[in-house]
Protein backbone atom coordinates (compact mmCIF):
# COMPACT_ATOMS: atom_id res chain seq x y z
CA UNK A 1 0.00 0.00 0.00
CA UNK A 2 1.50 3.32 -1.00
CA UNK A 3 1.85 6.10 1.51
CA UNK A 4 0.22 9.44 0.76
CA UNK A 5 1.84 12.52 2.25
CA UNK A 6 -0.59 15.33 2.85
CA UNK A 7 1.17 18.67 2.97
CA UNK A 8 0.32 21.16 5.67
CA UNK A 9 -1.83 23.92 4.12
CA UNK A 10 0.64 26.58 5.24
CA UNK A 11 3.57 24.72 3.63
CA UNK A 12 1.49 24.36 0.47
CA UNK A 13 0.64 28.07 0.49
CA UNK A 14 4.31 28.94 0.83
CA UNK A 15 5.25 26.61 -2.02
CA UNK A 16 2.61 28.22 -4.22
CA UNK A 17 3.85 31.69 -3.25
CA UNK A 18 7.44 30.74 -4.10
CA UNK A 19 6.29 29.50 -7.52
CA UNK A 20 4.26 32.68 -8.03
CA UNK A 21 7.29 34.80 -7.14
CA UNK A 22 9.54 32.88 -9.53
CA UNK A 23 7.11 33.56 -12.36
CA UNK A 24 6.89 37.29 -11.82
CA UNK A 25 10.63 37.52 -11.27
CA UNK A 26 11.15 35.89 -14.67
CA UNK A 27 9.03 38.60 -16.32
CA UNK A 28 11.78 41.22 -15.82
CA UNK A 29 13.68 39.86 -18.79
CA UNK A 30 10.81 40.38 -21.23
CA UNK A 31 9.57 43.34 -23.29
CA UNK A 32 7.03 46.00 -22.27
CA UNK A 33 4.00 44.24 -23.73
CA UNK A 34 4.89 41.00 -21.97
CA UNK A 35 5.49 42.83 -18.71
CA UNK A 36 2.02 44.41 -18.95
CA UNK A 37 0.43 41.04 -19.63
CA UNK A 38 2.31 39.61 -16.68
CA UNK A 39 1.25 42.49 -14.42
CA UNK A 40 -2.41 41.90 -15.18
CA UNK A 41 -2.06 38.30 -14.10
CA UNK A 42 0.03 39.26 -11.07
CA UNK A 43 -2.68 41.62 -9.94
CA UNK A 44 -5.44 38.99 -9.98
CA UNK A 45 -3.25 36.14 -8.71
CA UNK A 46 -1.81 38.14 -5.82
CA UNK A 47 -5.34 39.05 -4.72
CA UNK A 48 -6.32 35.37 -4.75
CA UNK A 49 -3.24 34.42 -2.72
CA UNK A 50 -4.05 37.11 -0.16
CA UNK A 51 -7.60 35.81 0.25
CA UNK A 52 -6.34 32.24 0.73
CA UNK A 53 -3.86 33.37 3.37
CA UNK A 54 -6.60 35.10 5.33
CA UNK A 55 -8.41 31.79 5.69
CA UNK A 56 -5.23 30.02 6.82
CA UNK A 57 -4.47 32.51 9.58
CA UNK A 58 -7.33 31.42 11.81
CA UNK A 59 -5.72 28.05 12.54
CA UNK A 60 -2.21 29.25 13.39
CA UNK A 61 -0.39 30.18 16.58
CA UNK A 62 0.04 33.88 17.40
CA UNK A 63 3.50 34.27 15.87
CA UNK A 64 2.61 32.44 12.68
CA UNK A 65 -0.62 34.43 12.47
CA UNK A 66 1.30 37.70 12.70
CA UNK A 67 3.61 36.74 9.84
CA UNK A 68 0.67 35.50 7.82
CA UNK A 69 -1.07 38.83 8.25
CA UNK A 70 2.08 40.59 7.05
CA UNK A 71 2.28 38.24 4.07
CA UNK A 72 -1.37 38.84 3.28
CA UNK A 73 -0.91 42.61 3.42
CA UNK A 74 2.17 42.35 1.21
CA UNK A 75 0.28 40.31 -1.39
CA UNK A 76 -2.62 42.80 -1.33
CA UNK A 77 -0.10 45.57 -1.86
CA UNK A 78 1.55 43.57 -4.65
CA UNK A 79 -1.82 43.37 -6.41
CA UNK A 80 -2.39 47.10 -5.91
CA UNK A 81 1.05 48.02 -7.19
CA UNK A 82 0.63 45.74 -10.20
CA UNK A 83 -2.61 47.53 -11.10
CA UNK A 84 -0.92 50.92 -10.73
CA UNK A 85 2.04 49.77 -12.80
CA UNK A 86 -0.28 48.93 -15.68
CA UNK A 87 -1.00 52.64 -16.00
CA UNK A 88 2.68 53.54 -16.12
CA UNK A 89 4.45 54.73 -19.24
CA UNK A 90 6.92 52.41 -20.94
CA UNK A 91 9.75 54.48 -19.50
CA UNK A 92 8.54 53.82 -15.96
CA UNK A 93 7.28 50.30 -16.46
CA UNK A 94 10.39 48.31 -15.55
CA UNK A 95 10.94 50.37 -12.41
CA UNK A 96 7.31 49.91 -11.34
CA UNK A 97 7.49 46.21 -12.15
CA UNK A 98 10.60 45.93 -9.99
CA UNK A 99 8.68 47.48 -7.09
CA UNK A 100 5.95 44.87 -7.58
CA UNK A 101 8.54 42.10 -7.51
CA UNK A 102 10.14 43.48 -4.36
CA UNK A 103 6.79 43.60 -2.57
CA UNK A 104 6.02 40.03 -3.64
CA UNK A 105 9.40 38.99 -2.34
CA UNK A 106 8.54 40.52 1.05
CA UNK A 107 5.30 38.55 1.02
CA UNK A 108 7.16 35.29 0.37
CA UNK A 109 9.62 36.07 3.16
CA UNK A 110 6.79 36.70 5.61
CA UNK A 111 5.15 33.48 4.57
CA UNK A 112 8.40 31.65 5.13
CA UNK A 113 8.60 33.18 8.61
CA UNK A 114 5.04 32.05 9.29
CA UNK A 115 6.03 28.50 8.36
CA UNK A 116 9.03 28.72 10.71
CA UNK A 117 6.78 29.97 13.52
CA UNK A 118 4.31 27.15 12.95
CA UNK A 119 7.09 24.55 12.87
CA UNK A 120 8.60 25.98 16.07
CA UNK A 121 5.25 25.45 17.73
CA UNK A 122 5.20 21.73 16.93
CA UNK A 123 7.05 19.00 18.81
CA UNK A 124 10.63 18.88 17.56
CA UNK A 125 13.90 18.29 19.39
CA UNK A 126 15.13 21.58 20.85
CA UNK A 127 18.80 21.50 21.73
CA UNK A 128 20.26 24.39 19.79
Amino acid sequence: MSQVNVKDPLDQARENAQAFYQKIEAATATNHAQIRTSLEKVSTDAEKVAINLKALGEKQNADAKLHLQLAQAAFEDTAKRAKEALAATDADLKKKNQAVIERARQAVTNLSRAVAARRAGTTKPSKN
Binding site: D11, R105, A116, A120, K124, P125, N128
Partner: protein, 184 residues
Protein backbone atom coordinates in the same frame (compact mmCIF):
# COMPACT_ATOMS: atom_id res chain seq x y z
CA UNK B 1 16.30 30.32 16.30
CA UNK B 2 17.03 32.50 13.26
CA UNK B 3 20.56 32.10 11.94
CA UNK B 4 22.77 33.13 9.08
CA UNK B 5 24.82 30.21 7.90
CA UNK B 6 27.66 29.70 5.47
CA UNK B 7 28.62 26.20 4.33
CA UNK B 8 32.01 26.03 2.64
CA UNK B 9 32.53 23.34 0.00
CA UNK B 10 35.62 22.42 -2.03
CA UNK B 11 33.94 23.16 -5.37
CA UNK B 12 30.83 24.48 -7.12
CA UNK B 13 29.27 21.06 -7.74
CA UNK B 14 29.34 20.19 -4.05
CA UNK B 15 27.92 23.61 -3.18
CA UNK B 16 25.04 23.11 -5.61
CA UNK B 17 24.34 19.73 -4.01
CA UNK B 18 24.51 21.37 -0.60
CA UNK B 19 22.01 24.01 -1.71
CA UNK B 20 19.49 21.38 -2.84
CA UNK B 21 19.98 19.30 0.30
CA UNK B 22 19.36 22.37 2.44
CA UNK B 23 16.05 22.95 0.67
CA UNK B 24 15.26 19.24 1.07
CA UNK B 25 15.70 19.65 4.81
CA UNK B 26 13.23 22.50 4.57
CA UNK B 27 10.74 20.31 2.70
CA UNK B 28 10.99 17.74 5.49
CA UNK B 29 10.41 20.42 8.10
CA UNK B 30 13.82 19.97 9.76
CA UNK B 31 14.74 23.60 9.10
CA UNK B 32 13.01 26.56 7.47
CA UNK B 33 15.07 28.20 4.76
CA UNK B 34 14.21 31.83 4.05
CA UNK B 35 16.81 32.65 1.41
CA UNK B 36 19.95 31.19 -0.16
CA UNK B 37 22.84 32.06 -2.44
CA UNK B 38 25.86 30.20 -3.76
CA UNK B 39 29.15 32.07 -3.99
CA UNK B 40 32.57 31.19 -5.35
CA UNK B 41 35.94 32.78 -4.64
CA UNK B 42 38.39 32.59 -7.51
CA UNK B 43 42.17 32.30 -7.30
CA UNK B 44 42.52 36.09 -7.32
CA UNK B 45 40.16 36.49 -4.38
CA UNK B 46 37.21 37.81 -6.39
CA UNK B 47 33.84 36.52 -5.19
CA UNK B 48 30.97 35.83 -7.59
CA UNK B 49 27.38 34.92 -6.83
CA UNK B 50 25.77 32.11 -8.81
CA UNK B 51 22.60 33.14 -10.62
CA UNK B 52 19.63 31.01 -11.45
CA UNK B 53 20.31 29.24 -14.76
CA UNK B 54 17.34 30.95 -16.39
CA UNK B 55 18.56 34.44 -15.50
CA UNK B 56 20.21 36.59 -18.12
CA UNK B 57 23.60 37.01 -16.56
CA UNK B 58 22.93 40.00 -14.31
CA UNK B 59 23.80 39.48 -10.64
CA UNK B 60 27.11 37.71 -11.13
CA UNK B 61 29.45 40.04 -9.25
CA UNK B 62 29.00 40.07 -5.50
CA UNK B 63 26.96 43.03 -4.27
CA UNK B 64 26.98 45.17 -1.18
CA UNK B 65 24.30 43.12 0.56
CA UNK B 66 26.05 39.78 0.32
CA UNK B 67 29.36 41.48 1.09
CA UNK B 68 27.87 42.76 4.32
CA UNK B 69 26.51 39.32 5.14
CA UNK B 70 29.97 37.87 4.62
CA UNK B 71 31.34 40.54 6.95
CA UNK B 72 28.77 39.67 9.57
CA UNK B 73 29.63 35.99 9.29
CA UNK B 74 33.38 36.56 9.41
CA UNK B 75 33.30 38.49 12.66
CA UNK B 76 35.88 40.77 14.31
CA UNK B 77 38.76 38.34 13.84
CA UNK B 78 38.01 38.32 10.16
CA UNK B 79 38.72 42.01 10.23
CA UNK B 80 41.78 41.61 12.40
CA UNK B 81 43.50 38.91 10.42
CA UNK B 82 42.70 40.48 7.10
CA UNK B 83 43.51 37.25 5.33
CA UNK B 84 40.01 35.92 5.52
CA UNK B 85 36.77 37.22 4.17
CA UNK B 86 37.70 40.83 4.89
CA UNK B 87 40.40 40.57 2.27
CA UNK B 88 38.02 38.90 -0.12
CA UNK B 89 35.48 41.65 0.36
CA UNK B 90 38.17 44.27 -0.18
CA UNK B 91 39.03 42.67 -3.49
CA UNK B 92 35.37 42.85 -4.39
CA UNK B 93 35.37 46.55 -3.51
CA UNK B 94 38.43 47.13 -5.66
CA UNK B 95 36.56 45.49 -8.48
CA UNK B 96 34.00 48.27 -8.45
CA UNK B 97 31.76 48.16 -5.39
CA UNK B 98 31.62 49.30 -1.79
CA UNK B 99 31.49 45.79 -0.46
CA UNK B 100 34.66 46.00 1.59
CA UNK B 101 33.51 49.19 3.26
CA UNK B 102 30.12 47.74 4.04
CA UNK B 103 31.54 44.50 5.36
CA UNK B 104 33.97 46.43 7.52
CA UNK B 105 31.16 48.68 8.75
CA UNK B 106 29.21 45.64 9.85
CA UNK B 107 32.24 44.20 11.59
CA UNK B 108 33.14 47.51 13.21
CA UNK B 109 29.62 47.62 14.58
CA UNK B 110 30.18 44.25 16.16
CA UNK B 111 33.51 45.09 17.82
CA UNK B 112 31.96 45.73 21.21
CA UNK B 113 30.29 42.36 21.26
CA UNK B 114 33.24 40.20 20.33
CA UNK B 115 31.77 37.18 22.05
CA UNK B 116 31.18 35.60 18.67
CA UNK B 117 33.72 34.22 16.28
CA UNK B 118 32.48 31.97 13.56
CA UNK B 119 35.91 31.37 12.03
CA UNK B 120 34.32 31.64 8.61
CA UNK B 121 36.88 31.71 5.83
CA UNK B 122 36.26 31.18 2.13
CA UNK B 123 39.58 30.06 0.66
CA UNK B 124 40.45 30.74 -2.97
CA UNK B 125 38.98 28.20 -5.35
CA UNK B 126 36.22 27.16 -2.97
CA UNK B 127 32.48 27.76 -2.92
CA UNK B 128 29.90 28.33 -0.24
CA UNK B 129 26.19 28.20 0.31
CA UNK B 130 24.91 31.22 2.22
CA UNK B 131 21.52 30.99 3.84
CA UNK B 132 19.13 32.63 6.23
CA UNK B 133 17.38 29.90 8.19
CA UNK B 134 15.18 29.19 11.20
CA UNK B 135 16.26 26.05 13.01
CA UNK B 136 15.21 24.50 16.32
CA UNK B 137 18.43 22.56 16.50
CA UNK B 138 21.60 22.57 14.45
CA UNK B 139 22.03 18.82 13.98
CA UNK B 140 20.07 18.36 10.71
CA UNK B 141 22.03 21.03 8.85
CA UNK B 142 25.38 20.12 10.41
CA UNK B 143 25.01 16.38 9.79
CA UNK B 144 23.77 16.75 6.23
CA UNK B 145 26.33 19.33 5.17
CA UNK B 146 29.23 17.53 6.84
CA UNK B 147 28.28 14.32 5.04
CA UNK B 148 28.72 16.24 1.77
CA UNK B 149 32.15 17.52 2.78
CA UNK B 150 30.91 20.97 3.81
CA UNK B 151 32.01 23.02 6.81
CA UNK B 152 29.18 24.90 8.52
CA UNK B 153 29.62 28.37 10.01
CA UNK B 154 26.73 29.94 11.84
CA UNK B 155 25.77 33.25 13.40
CA UNK B 156 22.56 34.09 15.20
CA UNK B 157 20.53 36.71 13.38
CA UNK B 158 19.90 38.42 16.72
CA UNK B 159 23.67 38.95 17.08
CA UNK B 160 23.81 41.03 13.93
CA UNK B 161 23.04 44.43 15.30
CA UNK B 162 22.34 46.23 12.06
CA UNK B 163 21.20 44.09 9.17
CA UNK B 164 19.98 47.21 7.38
CA UNK B 165 23.56 47.37 6.10
CA UNK B 166 22.68 44.37 3.98
CA UNK B 167 20.71 46.82 1.86
CA UNK B 168 18.14 46.22 -0.81
CA UNK B 169 20.41 44.21 -3.08
CA UNK B 170 20.67 41.49 -0.42
CA UNK B 171 17.24 40.32 -1.59
CA UNK B 172 18.38 40.39 -5.22
CA UNK B 173 21.12 37.87 -4.54
CA UNK B 174 19.41 35.64 -2.01
CA UNK B 175 16.79 33.45 -3.66
CA UNK B 176 13.75 32.53 -1.50
CA UNK B 177 13.33 29.13 -3.23
CA UNK B 178 15.40 26.23 -4.51
CA UNK B 179 16.89 26.79 -7.94
CA UNK B 180 19.53 25.56 -10.37
CA UNK B 181 22.52 27.83 -9.82
CA UNK B 182 25.27 28.57 -12.28
CA UNK B 183 28.13 31.00 -12.64
CA UNK B 184 27.88 33.18 -15.75
Amino acid sequence: MDNYIAVVFPNDAKAYEGLHRLWSLDAKGDVTVHATAVIHRDEFGKIDVATKDTDTGVRTAIGVGVGALLGALAGPAGLATGATIGAAAAVGAAAGGTIGLTADAVKAGEQDEASFETGFVLPAGQSAVLAEVSEDWTTPVDTTMTSLGGRVFRRAKSDVTDDSLFGSDYADYMYPYDYEPHFG
